[in-house]
């Protein structure tokens, strides 16, 4: 009962935040609402007993990405979103309605939350639940799966994070001034 109440409250706030983000034009407020949206999502994950996912969502979604978007906002001049051009609003509306209807139709095929007979819960999940402690000695099953059983996947994820860092460095890393001074000289001047 209390779970239902929390879920309804969180989802209501989530919907209100989403609508507010669409309606607003002040970019600073929209970024703040993005952070609130992530935090509410993290709350929903906690209610669904996915503490690890909630942790990541709160740290990355509400924390770091809000920070990075604010940093980007500080770089750009316009703090107001431009008003969209008023022509042919029916086309995006049709696309959004059809996509939304397809997604809602898709949810009817998803098994119920916590259904023990659902296909994902009858494949390898029972093995992890029964054997992960004996195999790895790690009480947190999520860590056991991420770090040990699916270690190769996690290596790929770390490689993705590293690649993203390299890409940002290539695009934004060197801080050239107008007089084309070298980066090394500039760094020594700055410090």
């Amino acid at each position: 009962m209390i779970d239902l109440l929390i879920n309804v409250t969180l989802l209501t706030f989530l919907a209100i935040t989403a609508v507010a983000m669409v309606r607003m034009t002040d970019l600073f407020a929209i970024i703040m609402l993005f952070g609130i949206f992530s935090l509410l999502t993290a709350g929903l994950f906690v209610v669904m007993d996915a503490a690890d996912v909630a942790f990541t969502e709160a740290a990355v979604g509400a924390g770091i990405s809000t920070m990075l978007m604010l940093a980007t906002l500080a770089l750009i001049k316009a703090h107001q979103e431009k008003k969209p051009l008023g022509r042919r609003p029916w086309l995006p509306l049709v696309v959004v309605t059809v996509t939304g209807a397809a997604l809602v139709y898709g949810t009817t095929d998803i098994s119920n939350f916590g259904d023990p007979l659902a296909p994902p819960h009858t494949h390898v999940a029972p093995y992890y639940i029964e054997q992960s402690m004996a195999d790895t000695g790690v009480p947190n099953m999520v860590t056991a799966v991420l770090a040990s059983y699916r270690g190769f996947d996690t290596l790929g994820e770390v490689a993705v994070v590293f690649t993203a860092g390299v890409a940002v460095l290539l695009l934004l890393g060197s801080r050239r001034k107008k007089n084309n001074s070298t980066v090394d000289k500039e760094d020594s001047n700055d410090s």
Partner: protein, 139 residues
Amino acid sequence: MTHNLILRVVAKLLIPIIILFAFYVQFHGDFGPGGGFQAGVIFSAALILYALVFGLDAAEKIIPRWLLHLLAALGLVLYAGVGVVTMMLGGNYLEYGVLGSTQVSGQHLGILLIELGVGVTVAAVMLIFFFSFAGRSRS
């Protein structure tokens, strides 16, 4: 930036706690929620807070950029290196069991090392993101 006394004092109080929490999440990830990814993000958040309150130059004195570039690569190399070591010891790639005398102790060591690699890379890359974005507004 010189007059924000309350901000400076609160940040100085908070930053050690945030870093301590990051280490807790890093090394307690086997037993509770968390792990290298979350710990890296929290650790970088502490340094970003420092950079926001005390300025980017002060933050770059603590962790210079070349060190961040090195750490980002080092974490990935540590992770991949664990796999290579397990292969050298006769196991499959990332089969941690061969690292220790027993299966469980090997798994413990392997998971500890690769989570450390994840944490180091994530923390360094998040800081590279922030420094790159924030650094551009100066010039």
